[in-house]
Amino acid sequence: MSHDTLRAGAAAPAHQRRMKLLTVVATFGGLLFGYDTGVINGALPYMTEDLGLTPVTEGVVTSSLLLGAALGALLGGRISDRRGRRTVILWLAVVFAVGTLICTFAPNVAVMVLGRVILGLAVGGASITVIAYLSEVSPAERRGRVVTQNELMIVSGQLLAFVCNAVLGGIWGEDGGVWRWMLVIATLPAVLLWIGMLAMPESPRWLASHGRFDEALGVLRQVREAQRAERELAEVKALAEEDRSARTAGWADLAVPWIRRIVVVGIAIAVMQQITGVNSIMYYGTQILTESGFDRDGALIANIANGVISVLATFVGIWLLGRVRRRPMLIVGQIGTFSALLLVGVFSSVLPEGPARATVVLALTVTFLAFQQGAISPVTWLMLAEIFPLKLRGFGMGVCGLTLWIVNFLVGLLFPILVSSMGISATFFLFAGLGVCAMLVARAIVPETKGRTLEQLETDFKQAGATA
């Protein structure tokens, strides 16, 4: 691109600085998402003592956020179509702050669960709205990177939470209620998100889809070169029209066999990303490490390794997506994750609790996360964006997103219950088994999407029915 080379030269002009600032501000949404899902990891051991949690209430406190998120994702899309991306992100920042404060001051489990559900609404809403906002204001050549950048912010938020947990736990771990301090830190990025978004413009595509073309052009002039802004208004109008047609499909279309097949594959991809049990490590990592033989401070510090590897692996994953075919990347990721889980199960049952077992388990959770965040997760997001024909996209992504949250919810809810009833190694064997099943399903039904047009995929799905 000619303007890319231009850009590399002299000091960045005003519209570029504005675009950069906008990206940073909006991705605070992803950061909050990561922090709020990750903070429970280190806070849970302290909370368990203070609030007297049982394995069941532990699961409920952790997973209630995900139930809220499922609802938030569903509502967020609809409300932001009606009221605008910026407006909804401003509201979400407030909901983030309110949810965080309720959790921070929760005197008992009931209030805590309420706070977590409210926080979940914000997390789920942000997951949809921030991505829509960013991809709508970004120039075309950057649009593809938005989803992966947001994913990077989510894992960075989790890492940040793990680091804060370790620092706070290390300094004030002996005082009661240190978990409240861990939670309350999340209000800070929420306030920054709110203040930042106040100064940011509405999405030009949303303005165009509501017929407000003058305002859309005004926004484009802020974030593009002068001549380019004019040219892009036409493109933005076309994209707004495309978005409208992406919301064509509904439940009735599932009557058509090849549509049903695509939706089933999409749902399978969503389930496969969560069924590895990745979030049992992201939410309960500290406890898994404590059970393996770390003391509490040690586990909090060791858990940072899980956060660091997630961030690094996400970088590797983004790099791999451009070079490797999707199907092999997914399947290798699955082999890596279930092998790691299997070995956690084996070593947890043969090694006695102590430093040796703790080190081995840490090494294996890190390996697991490398395969998950470096292969499975990035492929999941990209494939979900690639398999649906335009008119099915809105409906298909909605159904798959909801599936993802629900499986995430079930894993978060059941993990502590399973560990307390059948032990840690049996639980990991179970996840390894599910991982093997997921890999077999992936081999059987997931199509290769890299370098293929939607029309080619469509033909494949239609023919799959003719031979079956």
Partner: protein, 116 residues
């Protein structure tokens, strides 16, 4: 004047389309094809002697609403709406809403319902 045909992604849709082509020839009118499928309509084998316009379905999850909106858009110009009908088992009838039934009841132009 115009013959309009609703073509869902099913064998009934293709039956309706070929019946509509015959009808448009017979009446010597043009043909508006309402593509209710999520993919593009296969135009191979469509006659070249007819004036055919394809309308895509956008923004409507409900197929009947989409047809009714298209009829409103062409109000006063449509001679006949052609639709395909599917045989349904009694259980199927009880469980699923019927596109054909809604159109037969709500459309205010003559409807030609074709069975496979």
């Amino acid at each position: 004047m115009t013959v309009m045909v609703a073509v869902p992604d099913s064998p009934e849709g293709r039956t309706a389309l070929s019946a509509a082509i015959d009808e448009a020839r017979l009446r010597a009118t043009d043909l508006v094809v309402l593509n209710l499928a999520l993919g593009p309509l296969d135009l191979v084998g469509m006659p070249s002697d007819l004036d055919i316009t394809v309308k895509e379905r956008t923004g409507y999850a409900d197929l009947a609403d989409c047809v009714l909106a298209a009829l409103d858009e062409h109000a006063g110009k449509v001679d006949v709406l052609v639709i395909g009908m599917k045989r349904r088992s009694p259980i199927g009838k009880a469980l699923l809403g019927s596109l054909s039934q809604r159109l037969l009841l709500e459309v205010d132009v003559p409807v030609l319902a074709v069975k496979r």
